[in-house]
Symmetry: C2
Subunit: 345 residues, 2 copies
């Protein structure tokens, strides 16, 4: 990787740290509208493609058979905070499939925020699989396994029917062949298959518009898109980038973060899919990169502009809350984005 | 910054993320024994130079006047976990100066580990300045102010007598002029002055050996070095790199981490000072960089070798504790280090 610096972290007059990365914006025709850095290198998408991993859940009829609500379908695409509302929704999803938290194979995780962790501590509880940020995705996988009539045990393994279905959907959406040699194990124990950013961006261009998809898949993509847009709190939670953006943009964009600095988005009104990766895996930089793409690509209303000002240029604070610096997109990244995307507006 | 990739983060067969950076190893004569990346660019040292910031506390006679123990002097150099033992020691340091936690101007911080946070939650308490990872340093600053007979209020400001003393000590140790234009505000609200890695490494070569220092300063450096070596738990705490290394190396090395991927060390038996920075600010990479330098530079006994194996090549784990990849030094970094440092053994 020899990708350019895209994000600066300043303190006082100096750049204290910087983040390199790559970004691909692709249209529904598969054309690279904007590319910076190596967009053809394979990258693990991690949680940024949960919405695509949920396609078999809907296409198979499992979501309908289990009577999943928008909130639950949104949770199936989530990397959530492990708040009570998220853990409870995952529990209900499992109940609908006749299962419970013991069937989850994702492992436990403390809630993201101290106030949610405190609730568990005060109740003398420890976190379980329901609090894992991926519990909704896993509940979806389990629901799919149950509806398929296969053994739910081992649903995280690459050769389990559920993961085979998911891999097939990913191959179709990205246009790539996903073999064992590009397969890693995700933090929640399921396989994650590396593809180029260009492929993920193309997949999200189709996901957001339905263009180029079979009718069944286009319907499923629409259902998942709408569920996340209607229930953005379930995708992440309090103070989270994905939730704040989807709440404010009211259907104009779908965004989803992934571990190790990956981010994907769909911008249906422009027919764009976006995919990016911060080389070093930093979420703070991936968020600034995604916010910058959205700010440059879209005409913003006042609410959207206020939010983007905040997300494009977040402050670096002392522990007393005083600003010591900021995180901001690099000049070259900004110029290149403007040159490529301004025409698209 | 156009520094080389020094640390890889793998998952499955692929490199998922990578970290660039720079490293300087300097001897007591000020010669660069090993340098990779730009070692002349100014870098904020953050908490990695707390041991140097503690020099005025000892040289002024304040540490003696306040009857500070080794544990308390070690805490003055610490970025600690905010465990009970750390918060209590900071409280006692303040008491010895006739002060209390309300005099701290570092701001509050939750303890690093969930089990220590849980103790506060169960006692219906919120964290205060004593839990801030810098509370020992601040208690030392306050003790110095009190002993100097100056107003303790505003001891965090660049023009307060305490910070002027600290800046002077830093200028003398680094050989650099530290002006407002290279001054940032640290997370704990005190000034942090940027200098080249080469200068910090030189400072730690002197700190560890006393060479090139006036007798009063050499004595103070020795006292601080010994305090940290004797009480390594106070420098960081449970499961922390600095504590584990200093516990295991039993006086052979002093190491200290800082925010945004900075690390400093002294290796007295070789007469070396070490200073490094991960470009993107990642602690996980700075730790692997420092562990790699120590492993290559020193002849290790069995205990040291076991620890270094772990710290040079830490696993990337799933939430179920299964290894999904590892963090490791890059081949070029390793080769360059071996070529430069093997002779020194």
């Amino acid at each position: 990787m020899d990708n350019p610096a895209l994000v600066d972290v300043t303190r006082g007059n100096l750049t204290e740290s910087l983040h390199r990365g790559s970004v691909a914006v692709v249209d529904t025709g598969g054309n690279l509208v904007f590319g910076i850095g190596d967009v053809d290198a394979r990258v693990y998408p991690r949680s940024a493609i949960k919405a695509l991993q949920a396609l078999p859940l809907v296409e198979s009829g499992a979501a309908e058979a289990l009577d999943l609500t928008d909130a639950e379908l949104s949770l199936a695409c989530a990397s959530h905070n492990g708040e009570e509302i998220h853990a409870n929704a995952a529990r209900v999803m499992l109940l609908k499939a006749g299962l419970n938290e013991d069937d989850l194979e994702c492992g436990p995780q403390w809630p993201q925020r101290m106030e949610d962790a405190a609730k568990l501590i005060l109740a003398d509880e420890v976190p379980c699989g329901l609090h894992n940020n991926c519990s909704g995705k896993h509940a979806g996988f389990l629901g799919l396994a149950k509806t398929m009539g296969v053994d739910t045990r081992g649903y995280i393994e690459p050769d389990h029917p559920v993961q085979r279905e998911v891999r097939l959907a990913m191959e179709q959406m990205t246009g790539d062949t996903l073999t064992e040699d590009v397969c890693g194990t995700d933090g929640c124990s399921i396989p994650t298959y590396a593809s180029p950013l260009r492929s993920f961006a193309r997949a999200f261009a189709s996901f957001g518009t339905g263009e180029g998809l079979e009718p069944l898949r286009a319907d499923a993509a629409r259902q998942i898109y709408d569920a996340c847009i209607n229930e953005p709190y379930m995708v992440a939670g309090a103070d989270r980038f994905c939730t704040r953006v989807m709440e404010t943009f009211r259907g104009r964009v779908f965004v989803k973060t992934g571990a190790e600095g990956v981010f994907c988005a769909a911008i249906p009104e422009l027919g764009f899919g976006v995919s990016l990766k911060c080389d070093d895996g930093a979420t703070r930089a991936a968020e600034v990169m995604m916010a910058t793409v959205l700010e440059i690509a879209l005409e913003l209303n006042e609410d959207e502009a206020v939010l983007m000002d905040n997300l494009v240029n977040p402050p670096v604070l002392t522990r007393r809350g005083v600003q010591a610096g900021h995180i901001r997109p690099g000049e070259e990244f900004l110029s290149a984005l403007k040159a490529a995307l301004k025409q698209a507006k």
